[in-house]
């Protein structure tokens, strides 16, 4: 008897719980009540989360042991001194923006929850059929192996006939569940797109409102649109064969579609008058690579030069993407450039990260999550970032990994709070806002420029950031 390893996956109970979480998150927003997806049964008391699932005493880097990631004390609020001041200063505007977002997404939410429920049901049914087919295939292979050693064995011959029949039957079931999965996936993506359009309108409104308040004439938006239309936007940071290969990959329908979706989101959710450089960073495609952002300080200084934003040739920062990457990954890498190219963003994200993960010992990802390809120098601590990922529909296991990553620590200059937050905002902004309002305000406030008071003031006064007014 061969023992078959069955890893945790979206089983029926898990799928139902996820749907309940999504529905409750939606309901919580509608009812304007606190929501805590980490609470028992996805309750409505948002006082929990910090102390739950933390687990155990502190563990040093590399421990990789307890699921709590070596927490030594409860995480503090996400309002570090800088973020708190920014949120307080813009409280009225942030509240209003969140309200607009609620309103925009309200209609699409129920439909999305329903299609999501159906998708997970189809996924579980397909995985069950696939699992059964794999088991039968294995039994079949075992019978053939034994028959080759004992070809005249009548019992084995009968078993082989039976197994052929069962394989055919399971193959039909596999095929039909696969069709159902593809159909439900398409339906869910269609509804997600509708939901995204509604949200993007609300996000765009906020960007427009920030620029209007600052008396900024929207010129860079057109420049961004222009650069997105240029073939040289892809591969501009590379030369010769690398650039050419990159353009060939970018011309594939699937790759183009994902890039287009990410660009559409950026055009609406990100204030181009502030983040023009990040939005137009050249992209390089490789067949299969872990997506990354190569960031250079020189680009920030050069951004002060007239006409810089429209030029791609002199950029030394770039984004590397894989042919298989989805739009969410494009958005993630763009957020790295947003963080690096605007000093105030870095100040806020580092303040936020310190306040959320302060007191937690960093965990080495390659030890905590072995065999998934993390480099040995990747470390971080999860705080309770997982609540936003669970509310977004991720399994507990995946949410745990994503939470660690959101709390990743570099050398004090970069973080993953903006990148992971932008992914959440892209996936489902309203659920993100409901599940972790502090984090949402930071991400939304940075993307729209709302909370970037110092940057906005410098732009208004037409002087470089950091110089006296």
């Amino acid at each position: 008897m061969i023992a078959v390893f069955r890893p945790a996956r979206h089983r029926d109970a898990d799928a139902v719980l996820r749907c309940v979480r999504i529905l409750r998150a939606v309901q919580a927003v509608i009812e304007r009540r606190g929501f805590c997806p980490t609470g028992p049964g996805g309750g409505i008391d948002n006082s929990c989360g910090k102390s739950e699932g933390g687990g155990g005493a502190g563990s040093p880097v590399g421990d990789g042991g307890s699921s709590g990631g070596g927490r030594v004390e409860p995480a503090k609020s996400g309002n570090g001194p800088l973020v708190k001041a920014a949120r307080d200063e813009h409280k009225k505007a942030l509240d209003k923006a969140r309200k607009n977002l609620d309103k925009a997404q309200e209609k699409a939410d129920a439909k999305f929850a329903e299609t999501t429920k159906k998708f997970y049901e189809a996924k579980d049914a397909h995985y069950d059929a696939s699992d059964r087919a794999a088991k039968l295939q294995e039994e079949h292979a075992g019978i053939i192996q034994r028959l080759s050693a004992d070809p005249t064995n009548a019992t084995l011959q009968q078993a082989l006939e039976r197994s052929v029949g069962m394989l055919e039957e399971s193959s039909k079931a596999f095929e039909s569940t696969h069709k159902a999965l593809e159909k439900s996936h398409k339906q869910r993506e269609k509804v997600r797109q509708e939901m995204r359009s509604a949200v993007q309108k609300a996000l765009r409104k906020e960007c427009d409102s920030v620029n209007k308040e600052d008396g900024v004439e929207e010129r860079r938006r057109e420049q961004v649109q222009h650069i997105y239309g240029l073939e040289s936007h892809v591969g501009a940071a590379q030369f010769g064969d690398v650039a050419e290969r990159s353009r060939v990959i970018a011309s594939r329908t699937v790759v183009r579609q994902e890039m287009k979706e990410a660009q559409e989101f950026a055009m609406n959710a990100v204030n181009s008058e502030i983040h023009v450089q990040a939005m137009t960073t050249p992209v390089v495609f490789e067949e299969s690579v872990r997506a990354s952002a190569t960031v250079r300080e020189i680009d920030h200084d050069a951004e002060q030069l007239v006409g810089y934003a429209t030029s791609l040739g002199n950029r030394s920062s770039y984004t590397t993407l894989s042919a298989n990457d989805n739009a969410s990954t494009h958005v993630h890498e763009m957020a790295h450039h947003m963080e690096y190219s605007t000093p105030e963003v870095r100040e806020l994200t580092n303040d936020f990260l310190a306040s959320r993960t302060g007191g937690e010992s960093p965990v080495q990802f390659s030890k905590k999550f072995p065999d998934v390809g993390y480099a040995d120098d990747e470390v971080g601590s999860p705080d309770d970032f997982s609540k936003a990922f669970k509310a977004a529909g991720y399994s507990d296991e995946d949410a745990e990994r994503l939470a660690h990553y959101a709390g990743k620590r570099y050398d004090g200059t970069m973080t993953e709070v903006l990148t992971m937050g932008m992914e959440l905002m892209y996936k489902d902004a309203r659920t993100f806002a409901a599940s972790d309002p502090e984090w949402f305000d930071l991400v939304f406030g940075v993307a729209s420029g709302r909370i970037l008071s110092k940057t906005r003031k410098a732009r208004k006064e037409q002087r470089p950031y950091g110089t006296p007014s």
Partner: protein, 84 residues
């Protein structure tokens, strides 16, 4: 050459290649592997750079689908000045 990762249920093994995340197997028919490739592509919609190596993530999706186990591979090492 494109990297590959194996997923095994015991006697039956599958390979997943970084070239389009295509699934192949000597033990099952082409129709089945074609469908599994599509299953992996659907699963990749949930991918984030936070999950590490995309090929390993795709292999995890396949392992979950067929109830198998992913064969481990070495960690990657990150470059200076590059953030994921």
């Amino acid at each position: 050459m494109a990297r590959q990762v194996s997923v095994s249920t015991g006697l039956v093994s599958y390979q997943i290649s970084e070239d389009g995340m295509a699934v192949t197997s000597r033990d099952v028919g082409p129709r089945a592997t074609e469908m599994l490739s599509s299953t992996v592509r659907i699963g990749m919609a949930d991918y984030s750079p936070a999950f590490g190596d995309p090929l390993m993530f795709a292999a995890e999706v396949l392992a979950n689908a067929v109830g198998g186990k992913v064969s481990a591979r070495a960690d990657i090492s990150s470059e200076v000045g590059v953030v994921y």
